[in-house]
């Protein structure tokens, strides 16, 4: 009987195995082969990338964007989740409104942001109609990279905060009301309740939201490619550029591997330092 069951399980898992082998392991191995193959030696591709000077700017941009965008999303997402979790009248409506950006691709979000911040965009028109400025402010172009950078940050925050919000709201709904009642009995202030009761219970949700958002922020590409092109180079954008414009799959694969290694390192750090304490206690 057990043997029979095992056979069924194996058969049900087969399609996924086949998928993993064909679409994940084969490309992964192939990417490694490409990244390490060069007539001048296996590490030549990486040497070329690291010594190109562009690379450090690229890595810095990616890290800075991730470092600004992810904390902002976490704070905003948490604030929104706590607000909606008050369950005031009509909170479901607000929930759906917040979920709107989830339905949009990064390309459409970037184009929306462009239609607002372009030199003839809505923002400039509004400021001029109010008489605050005489001539349009330019947000895009090679000379205005700093401004384009902030437009990208705003777009990314707008686009991806709802994902953090949904994860945290789901976590909040699992918080047992009795804990909060007990805290009230002990005379906790709302602020204390948040820090001593809600946030510790929410820790696993915060961890998964952080993980998902950091991984995706590290692969950010569409928004930047549309709003700034290669003026603000990022790792994923460089991988795309080397593949589709320069036609150098080796360098592109090396960039892909660099992204993978850095994301794995960051994920490992998160899991190690933010691991919920109860897990460790259970293990012991």
């Amino acid at each position: 009987m057990i043997h029979h069951k095992g056979k069924i399980a194996l058969m049900l898992l087969l399609p996924t195995f086949a998928y993993l082998i064909v679409f994940i392991f084969y490309p992964l191995v192939d990417t490694c082969l490409l990244a390490f193959s060069n007539p001048a030696g296996p590490l030549e591709n990486f040497r070329r990338i690291i010594t190109s000077g562009e690379f450090w700017k690229t890595l810095r941009n990616t890290l800075v964007i991730t470092g600004i965008v992810v904390p902002l999303q976490l704070i905003l997402g948490l604030a929104l989740a706590l607000f909606v979790n008050l369950r005031f009248k009509g909170y479901l409506f607000i929930l759906y409104i917040i979920a709107i950006p989830l339905a949009l691709s990064d390309v459409s979000a970037a184009l929306m942001s462009y239609s607002i911040f372009a030199s003839t965009g809505f923002l400039n028109k509004l400021l001029m109609a109010w008489g605050w400025i005489e001539r349009p402010i330019y947000f895009f172009g090679f000379r205005f990279q700093d401004r384009a950078f902030w437009v990208i940050v705003v777009t990314e925050v707008w686009r991806a905060t709802p994902l953090v919000f949904i994860i945290l709201l789901a976590g909040l709904q699992a918080v047992n009301k009795e804990y909060l009642e007990a805290a009230s009995v002990f005379g906790f202030s709302p602020w204390q309740k948040l820090w001593k009761v809600v946030l510790p219970i929410l820790r696993p949700s915060i961890l998964s939201a952080l993980l998902i958002r950091t991984i995706f922020a590290f692969q950010v590409f569409g928004v930047i490619w549309i709003l700034a092109g290669r003026d603000i180079p990022v790792l994923a954008g460089e991988a795309y550029y080397w593949q589709t414009v320069v036609y150098n799959s080796n360098i592109s694969s090396a960039y892909g591997l660099i992204i993978a290694v850095v994301t794995i390192l960051i994920s490992w750090a998160y899991i190690t330092f933010l691991k919920p304490k109860s897990f460790e206690e259970e293990a012991v």
Binding site: L12, T16, T31, F83
Partner: protein, 158 residues
């Protein structure tokens, strides 16, 4: 009363922040070009469907839409066919290496994988632009487009 007003104001801000951009791009899509590029014209005097018409009819947008819908439906069917049995096994059965298997599936979200000689068809590289859209609609993406045109085997644009 005080609390209710505060909640209302916050709700209003949230609706503005998340709906505003969507509404603005909708208006921008319906504004005549001359008025869109006129800095002094904040609110368009009239709305037009010419942009939508040229997108869907002249630039073959309907074809792109159709392909998107086909791709979406097909990928839903295939991913459910592959994923559902595995999900069933992962919840119902206990077996060695279950966690490793689950982790491997999650790991696929972590990697950006590129593949040799598979432009376009692999789905790894996305094409923002339809091959039949003339270059003047594309602006500063001409360099990428030239290469994409080459991949598609499209004739060179004048």
């Amino acid at each position: 009363m005080m609390k209710k007003t505060l909640i209302f104001i916050l709700c209003l801000l949230i609706v503005l922040w998340f709906c505003g951009p969507v509404l603005l791009i909708l208006i921008a899509a319906l504004t005549p070009s001359a008025e869109y590029y006129d800095l002094a014209r904040l609110v368009p005097t009239k709305l037009t469907l010419t942009h939508l018409e040229s997108l869907f009819v002249r630039l073959n947008g309907w074809k792109a839409t159709l392909i998107s819908i086909q791709t979406a439906l097909l990928s839903i069917v295939i991913s459910f066919a592959i994923g559902l049995p595995a999900a069933y096994v992962l919840t119902r059965y206990v077996f060695k290496g279950k966690n490793l298997f689950r982790l491997t599936i999650l790991l696929t979200r972590l990697l950006q994988i590129r593949r040799r000689n598979c432009y376009g068809a692999s789905g790894d590289d996305f094409y923002i632009f339809h091959p039949e859209i003339p270059d003047e609609y594309v602006g500063n993406f001409t360099e990428i487009r030239r290469n994409q045109r080459r991949d598609f085997g499209c004739p060179k644009s004048p």
